[in-house]
Subunit: 198 residues, 2 copies
DNA sequence: CGGCTACTATGACCACTGTCATAGCCGGTG
DNA sequence: CACCGGCTATGACAGTGGTCATAGTAGCCG
Protein backbone atom coordinates (compact mmCIF):
# COMPACT_ATOMS: atom_id res chain seq x y z
CA UNK A 1 0.00 0.00 0.00
CA UNK A 2 2.77 2.36 0.82
CA UNK A 3 6.38 2.32 -0.20
CA UNK A 4 7.92 0.89 2.95
CA UNK A 5 11.44 1.50 1.75
CA UNK A 6 11.83 5.22 1.54
CA UNK A 7 13.90 7.32 3.80
CA UNK A 8 13.04 7.04 7.47
CA UNK A 9 11.89 10.61 7.47
CA UNK A 10 9.30 10.02 4.82
CA UNK A 11 8.20 6.83 6.52
CA UNK A 12 7.58 8.71 9.73
CA UNK A 13 5.46 11.33 8.01
CA UNK A 14 3.47 8.60 6.37
CA UNK A 15 3.06 6.68 9.60
CA UNK A 16 1.97 9.82 11.37
CA UNK A 17 -0.75 10.33 8.79
CA UNK A 18 -1.87 6.74 9.21
CA UNK A 19 -2.08 6.94 12.97
CA UNK A 20 -3.74 10.35 12.96
CA UNK A 21 -6.32 8.97 10.58
CA UNK A 22 -7.08 6.26 13.08
CA UNK A 23 -6.91 7.83 16.49
CA UNK A 24 -6.79 11.57 15.99
CA UNK A 25 -3.88 13.90 16.60
CA UNK A 26 -3.95 14.08 20.37
CA UNK A 27 -4.11 10.34 20.86
CA UNK A 28 -1.21 9.68 18.54
CA UNK A 29 2.10 9.61 20.34
CA UNK A 30 5.48 10.41 18.90
CA UNK A 31 6.95 7.16 20.18
CA UNK A 32 4.07 5.37 18.53
CA UNK A 33 4.82 7.03 15.20
CA UNK A 34 8.44 6.01 15.35
CA UNK A 35 7.53 2.45 16.21
CA UNK A 36 4.96 2.26 13.43
CA UNK A 37 7.52 3.55 10.94
CA UNK A 38 10.13 1.13 12.24
CA UNK A 39 12.29 4.18 12.72
CA UNK A 40 14.54 4.98 15.62
CA UNK A 41 13.03 7.16 18.24
CA UNK A 42 16.07 9.39 18.26
CA UNK A 43 15.42 10.34 14.66
CA UNK A 44 12.29 12.19 15.62
CA UNK A 45 14.10 15.10 17.17
CA UNK A 46 16.63 15.03 14.37
CA UNK A 47 14.25 15.18 11.45
CA UNK A 48 11.52 17.13 13.17
CA UNK A 49 13.15 19.69 15.41
CA UNK A 50 9.84 21.48 15.42
CA UNK A 51 8.43 18.63 17.46
CA UNK A 52 5.04 17.06 17.12
CA UNK A 53 3.54 20.11 15.54
CA UNK A 54 5.93 19.95 12.62
CA UNK A 55 5.37 16.24 12.17
CA UNK A 56 1.60 16.66 12.20
CA UNK A 57 1.75 19.55 9.78
CA UNK A 58 3.84 17.56 7.34
CA UNK A 59 1.51 14.61 7.64
CA UNK A 60 -1.42 16.85 6.84
CA UNK A 61 0.41 18.32 3.88
CA UNK A 62 1.25 14.86 2.67
CA UNK A 63 -2.40 13.86 2.88
CA UNK A 64 -3.47 16.89 0.89
CA UNK A 65 -0.98 16.17 -1.85
CA UNK A 66 -2.01 12.54 -1.88
CA UNK A 67 -5.67 13.42 -2.31
CA UNK A 68 -4.86 15.90 -5.05
CA UNK A 69 -2.79 13.38 -6.93
CA UNK A 70 -5.50 10.77 -6.75
CA UNK A 71 -7.74 12.95 -8.89
CA UNK A 72 -5.63 12.39 -11.97
CA UNK A 73 -5.73 8.64 -11.38
CA UNK A 74 -9.47 8.67 -11.00
CA UNK A 75 -9.81 10.51 -14.29
CA UNK A 76 -7.54 8.03 -16.00
CA UNK A 77 -9.72 5.21 -14.72
CA UNK A 78 -12.84 6.65 -16.30
CA UNK A 79 -13.53 5.67 -19.92
CA UNK A 80 -15.48 8.85 -20.40
CA UNK A 81 -14.87 11.45 -17.72
CA UNK A 82 -17.92 13.08 -16.17
CA UNK A 83 -18.24 15.05 -12.94
CA UNK A 84 -20.52 12.45 -11.44
CA UNK A 85 -18.14 9.72 -12.47
CA UNK A 86 -15.22 11.47 -10.83
CA UNK A 87 -17.17 11.91 -7.63
CA UNK A 88 -18.20 8.26 -7.72
CA UNK A 89 -14.54 7.30 -7.95
CA UNK A 90 -13.62 9.54 -5.07
CA UNK A 91 -16.32 7.93 -3.00
CA UNK A 92 -15.38 4.47 -4.16
CA UNK A 93 -11.89 4.80 -2.80
CA UNK A 94 -13.47 4.99 0.64
CA UNK A 95 -16.05 2.29 0.22
CA UNK A 96 -13.38 0.00 -1.15
CA UNK A 97 -11.15 0.60 1.82
CA UNK A 98 -13.94 0.21 4.33
CA UNK A 99 -15.18 -3.00 2.82
CA UNK A 100 -11.68 -4.39 2.49
CA UNK A 101 -9.98 -3.51 5.75
CA UNK A 102 -12.69 -2.07 7.97
CA UNK A 103 -13.60 1.32 9.27
CA UNK A 104 -10.48 2.04 11.25
CA UNK A 105 -9.37 5.17 9.42
CA UNK A 106 -10.89 8.48 8.51
CA UNK A 107 -9.46 11.50 6.76
CA UNK A 108 -6.29 12.76 8.43
CA UNK A 109 -7.01 16.32 7.41
CA UNK A 110 -10.38 16.15 9.08
CA UNK A 111 -8.78 14.74 12.19
CA UNK A 112 -6.21 17.50 12.30
CA UNK A 113 -8.91 20.11 11.85
CA UNK A 114 -11.05 18.72 14.63
CA UNK A 115 -8.17 18.35 17.07
CA UNK A 116 -6.04 21.38 16.28
CA UNK A 117 -8.14 24.04 14.59
CA UNK A 118 -8.44 26.04 17.76
CA UNK A 119 -5.30 25.07 19.60
CA UNK A 120 -2.59 25.11 16.93
CA UNK A 121 -2.73 27.83 14.33
CA UNK A 122 -0.06 26.37 12.07
CA UNK A 123 -1.83 23.03 11.87
CA UNK A 124 -5.10 24.71 11.09
CA UNK A 125 -3.40 26.50 8.22
CA UNK A 126 -1.84 23.25 7.06
CA UNK A 127 -5.30 21.72 6.98
CA UNK A 128 -6.69 24.63 5.00
CA UNK A 129 -3.79 24.31 2.57
CA UNK A 130 -4.43 20.59 2.27
CA UNK A 131 -8.06 21.18 1.40
CA UNK A 132 -6.92 23.69 -1.20
CA UNK A 133 -4.40 21.37 -2.83
CA UNK A 134 -7.15 18.79 -2.97
CA UNK A 135 -9.84 21.06 -4.35
CA UNK A 136 -7.55 22.53 -7.01
CA UNK A 137 -7.20 19.41 -9.15
CA UNK A 138 -10.87 18.61 -8.67
CA UNK A 139 -11.90 22.02 -9.94
CA UNK A 140 -9.52 21.77 -12.87
CA UNK A 141 -10.89 18.37 -13.74
CA UNK A 142 -14.41 19.77 -13.72
CA UNK A 143 -13.31 22.56 -16.03
CA UNK A 144 -11.79 20.05 -18.41
CA UNK A 145 -15.11 18.25 -18.51
CA UNK A 146 -16.92 21.35 -19.60
CA UNK A 147 -18.15 22.80 -16.35
CA UNK A 148 -18.23 26.59 -16.59
CA UNK A 149 -15.26 28.16 -14.85
CA UNK A 150 -17.38 30.14 -12.43
CA UNK A 151 -18.86 27.00 -10.95
CA UNK A 152 -15.89 24.65 -10.76
CA UNK A 153 -14.69 25.94 -7.41
CA UNK A 154 -18.09 25.76 -5.79
CA UNK A 155 -18.76 22.26 -7.05
CA UNK A 156 -15.35 21.07 -5.93
CA UNK A 157 -16.11 22.40 -2.46
CA UNK A 158 -19.47 20.69 -2.51
CA UNK A 159 -17.90 17.40 -3.54
CA UNK A 160 -15.26 17.50 -0.85
CA UNK A 161 -17.68 18.64 1.82
CA UNK A 162 -20.12 15.87 1.08
CA UNK A 163 -17.38 13.31 0.92
CA UNK A 164 -15.84 14.35 4.22
CA UNK A 165 -19.19 14.34 5.94
CA UNK A 166 -20.13 10.98 4.49
CA UNK A 167 -16.80 9.51 5.60
CA UNK A 168 -17.55 10.73 9.08
CA UNK A 169 -21.01 9.21 9.15
CA UNK A 170 -19.83 5.99 7.56
CA UNK A 171 -17.21 5.58 10.24
CA UNK A 172 -19.67 6.26 13.01
CA UNK A 173 -22.17 3.81 11.59
CA UNK A 174 -19.59 1.33 10.36
CA UNK A 175 -21.59 1.25 7.18
CA UNK A 176 -20.85 2.63 3.74
CA UNK A 177 -24.48 3.64 3.32
CA UNK A 178 -23.83 7.37 3.66
CA UNK A 179 -21.03 7.24 1.13
CA UNK A 180 -23.13 5.47 -1.46
CA UNK A 181 -25.98 7.86 -0.79
CA UNK A 182 -24.05 11.03 -1.45
CA UNK A 183 -22.53 9.55 -4.60
CA UNK A 184 -25.94 8.60 -5.93
CA UNK A 185 -27.68 11.85 -4.99
CA UNK A 186 -24.96 14.20 -6.10
CA UNK A 187 -24.01 12.52 -9.37
CA UNK A 188 -26.87 13.92 -11.49
CA UNK A 189 -26.42 17.41 -10.09
CA UNK A 190 -22.75 17.35 -10.99
CA UNK A 191 -23.31 15.98 -14.45
CA UNK A 192 -25.96 18.60 -15.12
CA UNK A 193 -23.33 21.31 -14.63
CA UNK A 194 -21.45 20.58 -17.83
CA UNK A 195 -22.36 23.15 -20.42
CA UNK A 196 -23.91 21.47 -23.44
CA UNK A 197 -21.80 23.42 -25.90
CA UNK A 198 -19.06 20.88 -26.17
CA UNK B 1 -26.68 30.88 25.32
CA UNK B 2 -27.23 27.93 27.57
CA UNK B 3 -29.25 27.61 30.72
CA UNK B 4 -26.50 28.07 33.28
CA UNK B 5 -28.78 27.21 36.16
CA UNK B 6 -29.65 23.61 35.69
CA UNK B 7 -28.44 20.80 37.81
CA UNK B 8 -24.68 20.44 38.01
CA UNK B 9 -24.88 17.16 36.21
CA UNK B 10 -26.55 18.67 33.20
CA UNK B 11 -24.12 21.55 33.23
CA UNK B 12 -21.21 19.17 33.10
CA UNK B 13 -22.63 17.31 30.13
CA UNK B 14 -23.18 20.58 28.37
CA UNK B 15 -19.71 21.84 29.20
CA UNK B 16 -18.20 18.59 28.00
CA UNK B 17 -19.94 19.04 24.66
CA UNK B 18 -18.66 22.59 24.43
CA UNK B 19 -15.08 21.65 25.15
CA UNK B 20 -15.14 18.62 22.90
CA UNK B 21 -16.42 20.80 20.13
CA UNK B 22 -13.43 23.05 20.59
CA UNK B 23 -10.49 20.79 21.32
CA UNK B 24 -11.59 17.27 20.54
CA UNK B 25 -12.22 14.46 22.98
CA UNK B 26 -8.67 13.51 23.85
CA UNK B 27 -7.57 17.05 24.58
CA UNK B 28 -10.50 17.71 26.87
CA UNK B 29 -9.75 16.88 30.48
CA UNK B 30 -12.22 15.93 33.14
CA UNK B 31 -10.94 18.59 35.51
CA UNK B 32 -11.37 21.09 32.71
CA UNK B 33 -14.98 20.06 32.24
CA UNK B 34 -15.73 20.48 35.91
CA UNK B 35 -14.09 23.88 35.98
CA UNK B 36 -15.94 25.02 32.88
CA UNK B 37 -19.22 23.91 34.39
CA UNK B 38 -18.37 25.60 37.69
CA UNK B 39 -19.04 22.23 39.21
CA UNK B 40 -17.07 20.54 41.95
CA UNK B 41 -14.51 18.08 40.75
CA UNK B 42 -15.73 15.50 43.19
CA UNK B 43 -19.08 15.41 41.45
CA UNK B 44 -17.57 13.88 38.38
CA UNK B 45 -17.12 10.49 39.91
CA UNK B 46 -20.47 10.79 41.60
CA UNK B 47 -22.54 11.59 38.54
CA UNK B 48 -20.44 9.73 36.01
CA UNK B 49 -19.21 6.56 37.62
CA UNK B 50 -18.50 5.30 34.11
CA UNK B 51 -15.72 7.85 33.90
CA UNK B 52 -14.81 9.94 30.93
CA UNK B 53 -16.33 7.54 28.48
CA UNK B 54 -19.76 7.96 30.02
CA UNK B 55 -19.45 11.71 30.11
CA UNK B 56 -18.39 11.86 26.48
CA UNK B 57 -21.17 9.55 25.41
CA UNK B 58 -23.76 11.66 27.17
CA UNK B 59 -22.34 14.81 25.63
CA UNK B 60 -22.61 13.24 22.20
CA UNK B 61 -26.14 12.15 22.89
CA UNK B 62 -27.02 15.60 24.07
CA UNK B 63 -25.60 17.10 20.87
CA UNK B 64 -27.63 14.72 18.74
CA UNK B 65 -30.82 15.60 20.55
CA UNK B 66 -30.02 19.28 20.29
CA UNK B 67 -29.50 19.07 16.55
CA UNK B 68 -32.69 17.11 16.12
CA UNK B 69 -34.70 19.62 18.11
CA UNK B 70 -33.34 22.51 16.13
CA UNK B 71 -35.04 21.20 13.03
CA UNK B 72 -38.49 22.06 14.35
CA UNK B 73 -37.32 25.56 15.17
CA UNK B 74 -35.90 26.03 11.72
CA UNK B 75 -39.17 24.99 10.20
CA UNK B 76 -41.06 27.40 12.41
CA UNK B 77 -38.80 30.21 11.24
CA UNK B 78 -39.61 29.60 7.61
CA UNK B 79 -42.67 31.39 6.23
CA UNK B 80 -43.08 28.71 3.61
CA UNK B 81 -41.10 25.57 4.35
CA UNK B 82 -39.02 24.16 1.52
CA UNK B 83 -36.19 21.62 1.65
CA UNK B 84 -33.70 24.17 0.40
CA UNK B 85 -34.94 26.66 2.94
CA UNK B 86 -34.52 24.20 5.77
CA UNK B 87 -30.99 23.42 4.65
CA UNK B 88 -30.21 27.10 4.41
CA UNK B 89 -31.35 27.53 8.00
CA UNK B 90 -29.23 24.61 9.14
CA UNK B 91 -26.24 26.18 7.46
CA UNK B 92 -27.06 29.59 8.76
CA UNK B 93 -26.86 28.45 12.34
CA UNK B 94 -23.16 27.82 11.68
CA UNK B 95 -22.40 30.92 9.68
CA UNK B 96 -24.12 33.00 12.32
CA UNK B 97 -22.05 31.47 15.06
CA UNK B 98 -18.81 31.75 13.16
CA UNK B 99 -19.38 35.35 12.26
CA UNK B 100 -20.49 36.23 15.75
CA UNK B 101 -18.05 34.43 18.01
CA UNK B 102 -15.39 33.01 15.73
CA UNK B 103 -14.42 29.60 14.49
CA UNK B 104 -13.54 28.02 17.80
CA UNK B 105 -16.05 25.20 17.74
CA UNK B 106 -16.99 22.42 15.37
CA UNK B 107 -19.52 19.66 15.67
CA UNK B 108 -19.05 17.61 18.83
CA UNK B 109 -20.37 14.49 17.17
CA UNK B 110 -17.79 14.83 14.44
CA UNK B 111 -15.09 15.32 17.04
CA UNK B 112 -16.16 12.23 18.94
CA UNK B 113 -16.22 10.21 15.75
CA UNK B 114 -12.74 11.30 14.72
CA UNK B 115 -11.23 10.72 18.12
CA UNK B 116 -13.06 7.64 19.33
CA UNK B 117 -14.45 5.72 16.37
CA UNK B 118 -11.68 3.19 16.48
CA UNK B 119 -10.70 3.28 20.11
CA UNK B 120 -14.01 3.37 21.99
CA UNK B 121 -16.85 1.29 20.64
CA UNK B 122 -19.53 2.75 22.88
CA UNK B 123 -18.70 6.31 21.85
CA UNK B 124 -18.76 5.34 18.21
CA UNK B 125 -22.22 3.92 18.73
CA UNK B 126 -23.28 7.06 20.56
CA UNK B 127 -22.11 9.09 17.58
CA UNK B 128 -24.03 6.89 15.17
CA UNK B 129 -27.10 7.27 17.35
CA UNK B 130 -26.63 11.03 17.43
CA UNK B 131 -26.52 11.19 13.66
CA UNK B 132 -29.67 9.11 13.56
CA UNK B 133 -31.58 11.31 16.00
CA UNK B 134 -30.53 14.25 13.89
CA UNK B 135 -31.42 12.75 10.53
CA UNK B 136 -34.81 11.52 11.72
CA UNK B 137 -36.45 14.93 12.14
CA UNK B 138 -34.81 16.17 8.97
CA UNK B 139 -36.23 13.29 6.97
CA UNK B 140 -39.67 13.76 8.53
CA UNK B 141 -39.57 17.44 7.69
CA UNK B 142 -38.74 16.63 4.10
CA UNK B 143 -41.65 14.24 3.98
CA UNK B 144 -43.98 16.92 5.31
CA UNK B 145 -42.83 19.20 2.53
CA UNK B 146 -43.81 16.72 -0.12
CA UNK B 147 -40.62 14.83 -0.73
CA UNK B 148 -41.43 11.22 -1.64
CA UNK B 149 -40.89 8.89 1.28
CA UNK B 150 -38.30 6.81 -0.51
CA UNK B 151 -35.97 9.76 -0.88
CA UNK B 152 -36.27 11.53 2.44
CA UNK B 153 -33.66 9.41 4.16
CA UNK B 154 -31.14 9.80 1.39
CA UNK B 155 -31.58 13.54 1.18
CA UNK B 156 -31.32 13.92 4.93
CA UNK B 157 -28.03 12.04 4.81
CA UNK B 158 -26.84 14.23 1.97
CA UNK B 159 -27.74 17.38 3.88
CA UNK B 160 -25.99 16.32 7.04
CA UNK B 161 -22.94 15.04 5.19
CA UNK B 162 -22.51 18.25 3.26
CA UNK B 163 -23.07 20.33 6.34
CA UNK B 164 -20.56 18.41 8.41
CA UNK B 165 -17.95 18.58 5.68
CA UNK B 166 -18.53 22.27 5.13
CA UNK B 167 -18.22 22.95 8.84
CA UNK B 168 -14.90 21.17 8.78
CA UNK B 169 -13.60 23.18 5.85
CA UNK B 170 -14.94 26.43 7.21
CA UNK B 171 -13.11 25.87 10.45
CA UNK B 172 -9.88 25.03 8.70
CA UNK B 173 -10.14 28.08 6.48
CA UNK B 174 -11.67 30.32 9.13
CA UNK B 175 -14.08 31.35 6.45
CA UNK B 176 -17.76 30.60 5.98
CA UNK B 177 -17.27 30.28 2.24
CA UNK B 178 -17.69 26.51 2.16
CA UNK B 179 -20.88 26.72 4.20
CA UNK B 180 -22.44 29.27 1.92
CA UNK B 181 -21.35 27.28 -1.09
CA UNK B 182 -23.03 24.04 -0.08
CA UNK B 183 -26.20 25.89 0.84
CA UNK B 184 -26.35 27.61 -2.53
CA UNK B 185 -25.45 24.55 -4.59
CA UNK B 186 -27.64 22.09 -2.78
CA UNK B 187 -30.75 24.24 -2.41
CA UNK B 188 -32.14 23.76 -5.90
CA UNK B 189 -31.47 20.04 -5.84
CA UNK B 190 -33.38 19.70 -2.59
CA UNK B 191 -36.30 21.83 -3.73
CA UNK B 192 -36.54 19.84 -6.94
CA UNK B 193 -37.25 16.73 -4.89
CA UNK B 194 -40.72 17.80 -3.78
CA UNK B 195 -43.33 16.00 -5.81
CA UNK B 196 -45.45 18.48 -7.68
CA UNK B 197 -48.71 16.80 -6.72
CA UNK B 198 -49.37 18.97 -3.73
C1' DC C 1 45.12 8.73 12.07
C1' DG C 2 42.04 12.96 13.52
C1' DG C 3 38.03 15.46 12.69
C1' DC C 4 33.66 16.31 11.14
C1' DT C 5 28.81 15.50 10.02
C1' DA C 6 24.68 12.74 9.91
C1' DC C 7 22.16 9.96 12.43
C1' DT C 8 20.94 6.88 16.41
C1' DA C 9 20.28 5.61 21.22
C1' DT C 10 18.61 6.25 25.92
C1' DG C 11 17.48 7.98 30.03
C1' DA C 12 15.51 11.59 32.60
C1' DC C 13 12.27 15.41 33.45
C1' DC C 14 8.06 17.58 34.12
C1' DA C 15 3.45 18.41 33.17
C1' DC C 16 -0.60 16.35 33.01
C1' DT C 17 -4.30 12.81 32.74
C1' DG C 18 -8.11 9.61 34.48
C1' DT C 19 -9.12 7.25 38.42
C1' DC C 20 -9.48 5.97 43.12
C1' DA C 21 -9.66 6.38 48.31
C1' DT C 22 -10.78 8.78 51.98
C1' DA C 23 -12.87 12.09 54.59
C1' DG C 24 -16.00 15.97 55.30
C1' DC C 25 -20.34 18.66 54.87
C1' DC C 26 -25.30 19.19 55.08
C1' DG C 27 -30.07 18.48 54.96
C1' DG C 28 -33.41 15.56 56.06
C1' DT C 29 -35.81 11.68 59.11
C1' DG C 30 -36.74 8.94 63.17
C1' DC D 1 -29.98 14.19 69.50
C1' DA D 2 -28.28 10.29 66.28
C1' DC D 3 -28.22 8.63 61.81
C1' DC D 4 -27.82 8.39 56.97
C1' DG D 5 -27.96 9.46 52.20
C1' DG D 6 -26.63 12.65 48.56
C1' DC D 7 -23.10 15.40 47.45
C1' DT D 8 -18.51 17.69 47.87
C1' DA D 9 -13.52 18.09 48.77
C1' DT D 10 -8.76 16.73 48.23
C1' DG D 11 -4.79 14.22 48.03
C1' DA D 12 -2.45 10.37 45.99
C1' DC D 13 -1.30 7.13 42.35
C1' DA D 14 0.14 5.18 38.30
C1' DG D 15 0.56 5.95 33.58
C1' DT D 16 1.69 8.60 29.48
C1' DG D 17 2.87 12.49 26.88
C1' DG D 18 6.37 15.58 24.50
C1' DT D 19 10.74 17.26 25.00
C1' DC D 20 15.54 17.85 26.28
C1' DA D 21 20.38 16.38 27.33
C1' DT D 22 23.82 13.57 26.57
C1' DA D 23 26.33 10.11 24.61
C1' DG D 24 27.17 7.00 21.14
C1' DT D 25 27.89 5.06 16.24
C1' DA D 26 28.91 5.15 11.09
C1' DG D 27 30.94 6.89 7.36
C1' DC D 28 33.25 10.13 4.62
C1' DC D 29 37.14 13.64 3.96
C1' DG D 30 41.58 15.25 4.49
Amino acid sequence: MAPSDRGPRERMVFSAAQLIRRDGVASTGMREVAAHAAAPRGSLQHYFPGGKEQLVNEAVGWAGRYAGNRVARFLAALPEPTPGGLFAEMVRQWTDEYEAVGFAGGCPVAAATVDCAESTAATREAAAAAFATWAGPVARALADMGVPEERTGALATLMISSLEGAVLIARAERDVRALNTVARELGPLLDAAVSKAD
